[in-house]
């Protein structure tokens, strides 16, 4: 090493240090500029972007579900209201792992293992910040069980919600329908925003048809939350306009149903499968709508398990099936008064014409016997007697003379060809056969031809013809009103709970049926009066304090082969005939029309007529008593 290398040159060293200091300062300058550039980028150029992010970070929008409108009967009895309940809800974005969370909830017995797949689908289908109900209606024990395990389930919490409650249970369920958890399918048809915070939706009946009115308008509240999503008090220093929009309660509905009539009808139908419709023929008000058996809509409102649902769904009595609106049955003899009217209208018969009933009818040139329900026949019958004793051959013959086209066209005016248009959905129409119908209904050309024999049984409401109980009731109402018809309706008025303002819905008139001679109505109706006075159903009219016009009917479930006898006792219960009964009262100024169908009930007069009588009593007697001041 050189001497210079060993002896320190302090001046040179200092110069070197100064130079290096300058380099350091330059480096510091460069790095500081870099940092400054970054800060300018974040705080000046991207300020708006990050401001928005920070807003979203701290404000959570909490939906405020609106209370669903309350449903009353026509007198203000509550049919459906809301009750506070506790439910388990989950916010996906706050749950670390949905899969393990659900599995954990199964382990502590709050949800069923079988429900996991559906829940996962539901969670996927909704937005990650929405609170999704995973279990409705927790009881006290379940709440306690969750409370002790809550720390294991971040993002899951118990919420108080208003749940739909049906205080009367099964009563009127097929008119009311029910609410249930919003399904994936529902989500496709609704505006999600409107349902944020709502976990249920009307599924059937009035609940579904009037969903828009009932559900109200959800509000929302912006809430300050911390990083763990926990709501916090508005720190004084962070004051900001937080949006609070209160919810608007749904409209209350006043139904046309009369709970007294409905209850009576349900009781009268007890233990039977069947349907009953009671209408006010003056405006189409449905006073009672029964389809039996029913089910408890509360099951759906609280969320029923898979087992419960499949039990309902596979019940051979089909409690979920709305027989009143969707059950199609041959109307049987209930249409005989109309067939008689058709005969008068088209001039093929007069009321006085006498038919000699020998217990069967044959078409000219055919040996096939169309039998009467009474084997020995009714002897000589005019129109009135034919109706009151329900003489089949009289109508076989009349139908044959009218022909299928005229029969079809005439009956069509009474609402038998199309759904009645009642204000709840899910209604079906029966079949009012015609040549045209047959052409389109069958593929085989041989079957597309209308045969005269088919017209014959059409005359007594058998064969291809089917109708729903509602259509039969509507037909009877039109007859009772001598041609005037109203669209059946279940909802009479809406009330805004905020203002108390009541909006009456006007009844809707249907096309009026006009006859050549208005006296024709009286002739047919007299026949129906005679049914109750010495006719087939006179037993059911005994002691009535008002006049009744009625008609029984029998709908064949199995065809009886030629030469065989119908023997109810020998037949399996489910193959027995369905029993029909239609009636209206009082005759001169009808206030109620009833149509009863009892599945496999046998003869109409014996089983169905007493039911109709009880229903009419329930509606008319209080009115009569009130008028008499008793």
């Amino acid at each position: 090493m050189s001497v210079r290398g060993l002896i320190k040159d302090s001046w040179r060293e200092r110069r070197l240090f100064e130079q290096r200091t300058i380099v350091v300062v330059i480096l510091i300058g460069l790095l500081s500029s870099l940092l400054l550039g970054r800060l300018l980028w974040l705080q000046v150029l991207r300020y708006d972007h990050y401001t928005q992010l920070s807003q979203g970070n701290r404000v959570r929008v909490e939906p405020l579900p609106a209370a669903r409108g309350i449903i009353y009967d026509r007198r203000g009895e509550v049919l459906a209201d809301n009750q506070p309940t506790y439910q388990l809800e989950l916010i996906p974005e706050e749950v670390p792992d949905v899969e393990t969370t659900l599995a954990g909830l199964v382990r502590i017995g709050l949800i069923e293992a079988a429900a996991i797949e559906d829940l996962k689908k539901l969670i996927r289908s909704r937005r990650s910040f929405e609170s999704i109900p995973v279990r409705l209606r927790l009881d006290d024990q379940e709440i306690a069980r969750f409370a002790v395990n809550r720390f294991r389930f971040p993002g899951v919490d118990i919420q108080t919600r208003l749940a739909r409650n049906y205080p009367l249970g099964e009563i009127g369920v097929h008119a009311l329908g029910y609410v249930g958890a919003i399904s994936e399918a529902d989500l496709k048809n609704i505006a999600r925003e409107a349902y944020a915070g709502t976990s249920t939706i009307g599924k059937l009946g009035i609940e579904s048809a009037y969903e828009q009115d009932l559900r109200g308008e959800n509000g929302r509240r912006e809430q300050l939350v911390n990083a763990r999503g926990r709501p916090i008090e508005n720190l004084q220093t962070l004051e900001r306009e937080l949006i609070f929009r209160p919810s608007r309660r749904g409209q209350d509905l006043f139904l046309t149903l009369d709970l007294n009539v409905q209850n009576t009808a349900e009781k009268a139908m007890a233990n039977r499968r069947g349907a009953l419709i009671a209408l006010d023929p003056n405006n189409g008000d449905v006073l009672a709508l029964v389809s039996h058996p029913g089910f408890d809509p509360n099951l759906f409102a609280r969320g029923l398990s898979n087992e419960e649902f499949s039990a309902l769904n596979t019940d051979p009595d089909r409690p979920l099936f709305n027989r009143a609106l969707r059950g199609t049955y041959p109307p049987g003899s209930t249409i005989k008064p109309l067939v008689a009217l058709a005969g008068l209208q088209y001039g093929v018969i007069t009321p006085e014409d006498v038919h000699y009933c020998v217990g069967y009818f044959t078409l000219p040139g055919s040996s096939r016997r169309f039998r009467d329900w009474q084997r020995r026949g009714h002897g000589p019958v005019n129109m009135r007697a034919a109706i009151s004793r329900s003489c089949d051959p009289y109508f076989y013959s009349l139908a044959d003379r009218l022909g299928v086209d005229r029969l079809h066209n005439f009956l069509g005016q009474f609402g038998l060809e199309a759904p009645s248009g009642i204000d709840i959905g899910g209604e079906k129409s029966g079949i009012l056969p015609s040549r045209e119908w047959k052409r389109s209904a069958f593929r085989n050309p041989q079957e597309q031809v209308w045969f005269p024999g088919e017209t014959v049984i059409f005359g007594i409401g058998q064969g291809y013809m089917t109708s729903t109980p509602l259509q039969v009731a509507q037909m009877t109402a039109t007859l009772a009103m001598r041609g005037a018809a109203w669209r059946p309706r279940l909802v009479a008025a809406l009330r805004d709970p905020q203002t108390g303002e009541r909006q009456e819905l006007a009844p809707e008139a249907m096309p009026v049926v006009t006859l050549k001679d208005n006296n024709f109505w009286k002739i047919a109706i007299d026949g129906m009066r005679a049914v109750m006075e010495g006719g087939t159903a006179s037993a059911a009219a005994r002691g009535a304090r008002y006049s009744i016009a009625g008609k029984s009917g029998t709908a064949q479930v199995v065809a009886i082969a030629q030469g065989e006898q119908y023997d109810a006792d020998a037949l399996d219960e489910r193959l027995r005939d369905h029993a029909w009964f239609v009636a209206f009262a009082p005759i001169e100024a009808p206030r109620i029309v009833v149509a009863v169908l009892i599945e496999n009930g046998g003869g109409g007069s014996g089983v169905a007529a007493p039911v109709a009588r009880q229903v009419m009593d329930a509606y008319l007697l209080p009115q009569i008593n009130e008028a008499n001041g008793t």
Partner: protein
């Protein structure tokens, strides 16, 4: 008359202060800047801790402790400091080895040595001991350092750096290495060598990535490259801190009004990420004021270093000055998303750890070196 009196009083007060400071061997401007930063720190800490006075109090106590240590160290003669440098280094190295064998594990890393009455991070000592040892080595030797000298220096730096890195504490090991390297750089390491070393560093970085880094460290680097890829996991810190800083804008949301900080979206808001709280509540303006103070401290320290006569003092003081900036830059850089998150606190402001004490001790040493700059070593 009165005015003259007042003036003379204030002049007298000033001279008195100057005399006290020089007796205490303290550099007035530097202490003023450091105190300003520390006071801002306490102010911010109150907000960042969500109004927790206990935290502020503990911060103040630590600050006082550091200040005291600074005062004490400022009294020690530089020759003494120089002589104990190698022993301090040796002791630090020994402690690091002990930590490696029996240290407490905290936050997934062995960093602490439990002395019974206090827990202690030997790596903190090394932040001072490494530059001291390097400066000591170069003091008697010619600068720029000879190749053989460089080998020794490299060993002095690599040994503690490696030991801290395997704890693993990436941030501290980085700072220790930087401390040693700045000494060597200031000693006039040839620029050609620096370039070749950088090439070597890249190679070493690759090797380190492949063989040395733990999974969480790699994750940190990867997250840094694309934080949005894992917004709820490893990217969460950076995303939340950039939101905090960005939403602060030019003027800030106001003291105690930073929603990111107050609502706990910002993690580690009173420790490593306190810079984001400042950015959010005081905006670009507040950050600029703070950075100016920091830069003033750096500039003042560098100026002081240039006044010093002997190699040891110059190199050590210069290294402390540069290192102080490195601290600031790495912390601000990582919190604003410019650098990966390596766990370096913001000098004099971040709460917790012993880094504040270490830093102030360093400034104590610096002041001692300056006060005795004219003494022949």
């Amino acid at each position: 008359m009165i005015r003259e009196n007042v003036e003379s009083t204030s002049t007298r007060a000033l001279t008195l202060t100057a005399r006290v400071l020089s007796t205490l061997r303290i550099d007035g401007p530097l202490v003023l800047a450091l105190s300003s930063i520390a006071l801002i720190g306490l102010l911010v800490l109150y907000s960042a801790s969500g109004g927790n006075w206990a935290v502020v109090l503990r911060g103040a106590v630590r600050l006082l402790l550091g200040g005291l240590l600074m005062l004490v160290l400022a009294q020690i003669r530089p020759s003494m400091l120089r002589r104990i440098s190698p022993f301090m280094y040796g002791a630090g190295l020994l402690l690091l080895l002990i930590v490696e064998l029996v240290g407490d594990v905290g936050k997934g890393a062995q960093r602490w040595l439990d002395l019974g009455f206090m827990r202690f991070q030997p790596s903190e000592i090394m932040k001072l001991a490494v530059p001291m040892a390097c400066a000591w080595w170069l003091h008697e030797r010619p600068v720029p350092p000879s190749p053989s000298s460089l080998v020794i220096l490299a060993a002095l730096i690599v040994l503690p750096t490696g030991l801290v890195m395997i704890q693993p504490d990436l941030g501290t090991s980085l700072l220790i290495a930087m401390a040693g390297l700045t000494v060597v750089f200031l000693a006039g390491l040839s620029l050609r060598l620096i370039v070749s070393l950088m090439v070597l560093a890249v190679a070493a970085a690759w090797a380190g990535w492949e063989f040395l880094l733990r999974e969480y460290q790699r994750q940190r680097v990867l997250t840094f490259l694309n934080p949005e890829a894992d917004p709820l996991g490893s990217g969460y810190h950076i995303i939340q801190s950039t939101i905090a800083i960005g939403s602060g804008g030019v003027f800030g949301k106001g003291y105690l009004r930073g929603s990111q900080s107050q609502l706990e979206f910002l993690p580690e808001r009173s420790t490593d990420f306190v810079f984001a709280v400042i950015g959010e509540e005081f905006g670009l303006l507040g950050i600029l004021i703070l950075l100016s103070l920091y830069l003033y401290v750096v500039a003042r320290s560098l100026w002081l270093a240039n006044q010093m006569r002997d190699t040891y003092a110059r190199l050590l003081a210069g290294s402390f000055a540069a290192l102080f900036f490195v601290y600031v830059f790495i912390n601000a850089g990582m919190v604003s998303g410019l650098l990966p998150v390596v766990g370096v606190p913001l000098p004099l402001i971040s709460y917790g750890g012993t880094s504040m004490v270490t830093l102030l001790a360093g400034f104590g040493i610096l002041m001692s070196l300056y006060a005795n700059r004219k003494l022949a070593a």
